[in-house]
């Protein structure tokens, strides 16, 4: 558990951030310049706050009132930097063992062999960082941080400098990490895809302040946060159970409280929980259940609220028997349909609009 409550000023940039995380993955989400990386640096002791308090697992790292400020090497924080920062003069093996040397007898997060297996880096051990690809470097950097037996793992946009296939590769390993290792993770990102796939909770940041915190599902359906979550990418997150895979059509049948969905290319077995992001712009609204339509997913629900800026479109929040869904439609359509809170409607979602990137394991 990480408790963070800090005020800090660097030049003209002021930061005033407070949040608490449980276990699992907490995403620090926001545009670049929001102060996300600064928060990680403050936790790791690489930047100095003006005042506040930081504790990890009840251990105080910084407390201005009590005059406590641990130096970075005593904080036991595993930091995976955007650029990896492997030590160039050491082999992969010695990079991995570097932090382990200083924290040998602390309670083990992972063993050496387990870390290698988890991250798939066994064949790289005798190489030097200069001979590794971007994705391999990041995996080694994650392993190195884990082997230092940290009490919290900080990941600073570990995918930012990678191309799309490498991103998918690292995401897979971070997912394994989340599921197989007990260390809480703070994950900085400005990509909604990553947040939805990985995170349990989100801290939404803008201009050095926290706009909101909460579970991924709740945060994504809060219409007032839409401008900060990305105008075109935003949408609700639905947690569902895989009910079956139809190999012939390539469609998976997912069930959740609001009904069932058919989605292509879901790499999960029946019975597993997945998390799907349904972009608001991919959801249409009908007053009556339409027939003779190619759209496979038609879900019944009621309008909860309409919100939006002064533009030509607005966001409609729907309630599907307890699950929130967002639809982005034109203002004109909304008035022609006479949408108002409480009105029963049908939400239409094209199966192909939900691609592989929008699905993650819950």
């Amino acid at each position: 558990m990480l408790e963070f409550d800090v005020r800090c000023r660097v030049g003209s940039f002021a930061l005033d951030v407070a949040f608490t995380t449980g276990g699992g993955v907490t995403a620090l989400f926001g545009r670049s310049g929001a102060g996300k990386s600064t928060v990680l640096n403050l936790i790791a002791g690489l930047a100095r706050p003006q005042s506040g308090r930081i504790t990890v697992e009840k251990r105080t790292l910084y407390d201005s009132a009590a005059g406590i400020e641990l130096p970075p090497h005593a904080r036991r924080v595993g930091y995976v930097f955007q650029e990896g920062r492997l030590l160039p003069h050491l082999t992969v093996r010695h990079n991995l063992l570097y932090g382990n040397f200083f924290n040998k007898n602390k309670n083990h997060v992972v063993g050496f062999d387990q870390a290698i297996e988890l991250l798939g880096i066994g064949h790289l051990l005798e190489r030097r960082p200069g001979a590794l690809s971007g994705g391999e470097k990041q995996r080694v950097a994650i392993g190195r941080a884990l082997l230092a037996n940290p009490e919290v793992l900080l990941l600073d946009e570990p995918l930012a400098s990678l191309d799309a296939p490498r991103k998918a590769e690292i995401l897979y390993y971070v997912e394994r990490l989340r599921d197989e290792v007990r260390v809480p993770i703070v994950y900085v990102s400005h990509s909604l895809d990553e947040v939805v796939r990985l995170a349990d909770s989100v801290v939404l940041m803008s201009d050095g302040e926290v706009l909101g915190t909460g579970a991924v599902r709740d945060m994504m359906s809060r219409v007032e946060l839409r401008p900060y979550l990305g105008r075109h990418e935003g949408g609700a997150v639905i947690e569902a159970r895989v009910a079956g895979q139809d190999l012939e059509s390539g469609l998976a049948r997912l069930e959740f409280s609001g009904g069932a969905l058919e989605i292509p290319d879901v790499e999960a077995l029946p019975g597993e929980q997945v998390r799907i992001r349904v972009r608001a712009r991919d959801v249409s609204i009908a007053l009556a259940r339409p027939a003779g339509l190619s759209i496979r997913n038609i879900l019944a629900g009621t309008v909860v609220e309409l919100a939006g800026d002064e533009g030509s479109s607005l966001d409609v929040r729907l309630d599907l028997q307890g699950t929130a869904l967002l639809a982005r439609i034109t203002r004109k359509s909304a008035s022609e349909l006479g949408l108002r809170p409480g009105l029963p409607v049908f939400a239409l979602i094209k199966a192909v609009s939900i691609d592989r990137r929008s699905v993650g394991y819950a």
Binding site: P71, Y79, F81, Y98
Partner: protein, 233 residues
């Protein structure tokens, strides 16, 4: 004609000994000075920088004379060292090494400082988050990364020591077998009638020595650079 006379051998070995010890003794001082100049900011930093560089621009005879004043028998430092530690610099080979160390110091400091400035501070921060205290970070990250700079600096200051003349002759005089290094021996031969041939032999020896040092260091620096850059050497 290619074998060295006993006197020439003495001068050669003395030169090597003086150069070795001058580099060895000035290295820790130079690394510390370079670190202070590269990493700290404090009032008077530019003055310290200038003082370190003085031997580069002053006439060597001035440096030698100040060493004589400070480290001579009645000099403030010389008297103290002789009385309490039994160390004498004046008219000894150790004095020649001291003169060479002072003359070579700016070259060593400059080379080390430049590579310190080039070190990615992010790597040091990363090492700190992994549990390395500042001293460990310096020993296990900074030092290996600046090794090429240290080697370059050591070579420059070694070569400077082999060629040092003015400060040495002013401080510890020209005593065969004790303070007479190669340049001083060459000078001595040019001062006696008929010494031209012997002076020339020693000149050739100096050239061979310097070339060998340059080439050896080139190999060392290349290896260290590859290592520090993380390529498989």
């Amino acid at each position: 004609m290619w074998s060295l006379s006993p006197a020439e051998t003495t001068a050669l070995l003395l030169s090597l000994k003086v150069a070795f010890w001058s580099v060895a003794a000035s290295l820790p001082v130079a690394v510390a000075l370079a670190w202070v100049l590269s990493r700290l900011s404090f009032p008077g930093k530019s003055l310290l920088d200038a003082v370190v560089h003085l031997p580069l621009v002053l006439p060597p005879v001035v440096v030698g004379y100040f060493l004589l004043l400070a480290f001579g028998r009645r000099g403030p430092i010389g008297a103290f060292l002789e009385e309490y530690l039994g160390i004498t610099f004046i008219f000894r080979w150790t004095g020649a090494a001291l003169a060479c160390a002072v003359m070579g110091l700016p070259l060593l400091v400059r080379a080390v400082r430049q590579s310190l400035d080039a070190v990615d501070r992010g790597l040091e921060a990363a090492a700190a988050t992994l549990g390395a205290s500042p001293l460990w970070v310096f020993a296990s990250v900074t030092l290996p990364l600046i090794l090429p700079g240290i080697l370059t600096g050591m070579l420059l200051s070694f070569a400077r020591s082999l060629g040092e003349f003015g400060a040495t002759i002013t401080f510890v005089s020209n005593i065969p077998g004790e303070t007479q290094t190669l340049p001083l021996a060459i000078y001595a031969f040019t001062q006696v009638p008929g010494g031209d041939a012997q002076a020339l032999r020693l000149c050739v020896l100096s050239i061979v020595l310097s070339l060998a040092a340059l080439m050896a260091s080139e190999v060392l620096v290349r290896r260290a650079t590859e290592r520090a850059a993380g390529r498989d050497a």
